[in-house]
């Protein structure tokens, strides 16, 4: 007799006895899902040729245990027949037969891809996905613009309440955080400029540095990135959960155009609020630079402002401002599009929200670079 498994104080065990050209399996104790893990290997090894299972010592049996015992006689002509079993048990044979009958013959778990080929395949899929997303975003933008045009002809169709509400949540409520961030960016720029320019004895140029950096780039970029992180994800989540609850379908059936009711108010709100937020960001950034200049370079605020007026052209301000509505438009369009792309499951809501923020920030940076090249060519 060879006891295969089972501690001494533990009645659950399995005896495997080879006799008369047959393998006799004698399970003992409770065979439940909690216990059978350690019997898998000995059972599978024993399950060849003629197998007889002795049920006399068996205690409690559940479906998992019944399945494993049933596997042993699987090779037999009549796996549930009398020839395969010995001993009495109140329900084991019935349970084993029932489980065998109901077992779904599933294919094995699919293997996960790996290796170099799979990596290239992923890169390829990524590229195709990028192209499709870009094309689709432009299609969405086009659809939004046509909706905007048809609403411009019939202004009473515009959802004023929704537009104003979005202006408040995406614009006014974002004001404090954008102002604070911008203040610090202005301060940091002034600090770096002061340190660097002082070595040339040209610390007064800190004013130009802060002015140009904040007006031309940082004011509008901070605004755009905050909008992308804050409002764009909110748009995706809001529209996406409406999509999941079939609210969008309900709208279509009732005859409400979701572009008119959901997308356009958000786009208009963003396009209007982005320049206003940018203005606030510029003021806060310059204020930050001014405070640092005063503290570290002894440039008084009055002198700072005077220098700002004389040294910096208005065009710097307009360059920054001109980008704001474009960023607002792009961010709102990407947020709404990703929301509309959400499918029925929670997983896709999370994926789309992430994609929405990533795409919006990516688009903002790329468009900013394009603007930089454009204004360089135009000598502004």
């Amino acid at each position: 007799m060879a006891t295969v498994e089972g501690r001494r104080d533990d009645p659950t065990g399995l005896d495997v006895i080879e006799a008369d050209g047959a393998t006799r399996l004698k399970p003992s104790g409770d065979w439940t899902v909690h216990e059978i893990g350690r019997f898998e290997r000995p059972m599978m090894k024993a399950a060849s040729g003629r197998v007889v299972i002795d049920l006399s010592e068996l205690g409690h049996l559940d479906t998992a245990g019944a399945w494993l015992l049933g596997q042993a006689t699987e090779g037999s002509d009549d796996p549930d027949g009398d020839a395969c079993f010995e001993g009495e048990h109140p329900y084991a044979r019935r349970l084993i037969a029932e489980v065998r009958e109901r077992m779904a013959e599933c294919e094995d778990e699919p293997k996960r891809d790996g290796g170099v080929v799979a990596m290239f395949a992923r890169i390829g899929r990524g590229m195709i996905g990028f192209r499709d997303e870009t094309v689709d975003t432009f299609a969405f933008l086009g659809r939004t613009l046509t909706t905007a045009a048809s609403t411009a002809v019939r202004p009473h169709r515009l959802r004023w309440t929704a537009t104003i509400a979005t202006m408040e949540s995406a614009g006014v409520n974002a004001l404090p955080i954008i102002a604070v961030l911008s203040f610090f960016i202005g301060a940091v720029v002034a600090f770096m400029g002061a340190n660097l320019l002082e070595t040339f004895g040209a610390s007064i140029f800190t004013v130009e540095l802060v002015g140009i950096a904040v007006l031309r780039e940082f004011g509008v970029l901070i605004t755009a990135i905050m909008l992308a992180g804050r409002s764009n994800s909110a748009f995706t989540a809001a529209i996406g959960s409406m999509k999941m609850q079939q609210e969008i379908d309900a709208m279509k059936v009732i005859g409400v155009d979701p572009f008119e009711a959901l997308v356009l108010p958000r786009v208009i709100a963003c396009v209007v609020m982005a320049p206003l937020l940018t203005l606030a960001a510029m003021l806060a950034g310059i204020f930050g630079g001014m405070v640092v200049s005063w503290a570290t370079l002894d440039i008084s605020p009055a002198f700072f402002i005077q220098r700002l007026q004389s040294a910096i052209d208005w065009s710097q301000f307009f360059v920054g401002m001109s980008k704001a509505p474009v960023f607002g438009l792009v961010i709102a369009v990407i947020g709404c599009r990703q929301g509309m792309k959400v499918k029925g499951d929670v997983e896709s809501l999370g994926r789309r929200t992430t994609a929405s923020v990533v795409q919006a920030i990516f688009a903002v940076i790329v468009i900013d670079a394009l603007f930089a090249m454009l204004y360089l060519e135009l000598d502004i």
């Binding site: 439940t32 899902v33 909690h34 059978i36 893990g37 350690r38 898998e40 409690h60 559940d62 479906t63 998992a64 399945w67 494993l68 109140p90 329900y91 019935r94 349970l95 029932e98 489980v99 109901r102 077992m103 779904a104 013959e105 599933c106 294919e107 094995d108 778990e109 699919p110 499918k343 029925g344 499951d345 929670v346 997983e347 896709s348």
Partner: protein
């Protein structure tokens, strides 16, 4: 383990009081569940059937009263005892509550991974067996919940609830939203399983056909209490107006005739 009818009490709710703010849902509710029976819980919308289920499951804490499982107060259990208890219970939630990021097979394997030591391949095999047990086709194993129909989700949820061969199975409206044929099959499945595995089943249902077909006893929730617990034929003679309307309304008559 098999055979309903022995009067051993497995779950007992005593004097349960549930309050949400000033809104009292249960006021001194008592309920006894016998080992091996299929107990139906019925009641109008908003009478706190699902809340009662969540109370028993320990997802909500009662304002007063106690809930005993095998004679032990559940609030006194420590972490480890609580874990052991969880492996003895299977729950099918109203919306199936499958994990959307996992395939059906992986969903069924979650309780196994959490509570049992065995090889992954054996877990997968046991998951496949539960899949068959709950009547899902084999090709559903590698699908994600979002690709399944409502009825299949229910079955997958049931397969997950059965993963650890629980002693007690809780079902929250298992046949709601299923077509009559699907609902019948589900009823038969529950009856089959409770017989084969000796399960104690507690199910909330609005489905009169289910009550007639598979419930050994039915508890009626009204007036913030369980006003009656009895087999269906006995309940039909109960004079309480809500019970009379429930069982003798047009739908009740149709279910009885069928």
């Amino acid at each position: 383990m098999t055979g309903a009818g022995d009067d051993e009490i497995i779950i007992e709710v005593k004097g349960l009081v549930t309050r949400f703010g000033s809104h009292v849902v249960h006021d001194g509710l008592d309920l006894q569940v016998r080992k091996g029976e299929v107990l139906g819980i019925v009641g109008g919308s908003g009478t706190g059937k699902s809340v009662l289920l969540n109370m028993i499951l320990g997802l909500l804490t009662p304002a007063a009263g106690e809930i005993l499982y095998n004679g032990r107060d559940m609030t006194t259990l420590n972490e480890e005892e609580r874990r052991d208890l969880e492996s003895e219970w299977g729950v099918l939630f109203q919306g199936s509550a499958l994990f959307s990021s996992l395939t059906v097979r992986e969903n069924i394997m979650v309780p196994l991974k959490e509570h049992v030591t065995m090889s992954r391949s054996l877990m997968a095999k046991i998951a496949d067996m539960k899949l068959g047990l709950s009547g899902l086709p084999a090709n559903a194993a590698d699908k994600f919940p979002s690709d399944l129909s409502g009825g299949m989700k229910k079955r997958a949820g049931l397969a997950r609830a059965l993963a650890l061969d629980p002693e007690v199975l809780f079902l929250d409206e298992p046949t709601a939203g299923l077509d009559p044929i699907g609902a019948n099959r589900f009823d038969e499945l529950i009856k089959d399983l409770s017989k084969t595995l000796g399960l104690t089943v507690i199910m909330i249902t609005h489905d009169l056909d289910s009550l007639h077909a598979i419930c050994d006893r039915v508890a009626v929730l009204a007036e913030k209490k369980v006003i009656a617990t009895a087999p269906v034929p006995e309940l039909e003679d109960n004079p309480h107006p809500w019970i009379q309307e429930y069982f003798h309304g047009p739908r009740g008559r149709a279910a009885r005739a069928g």
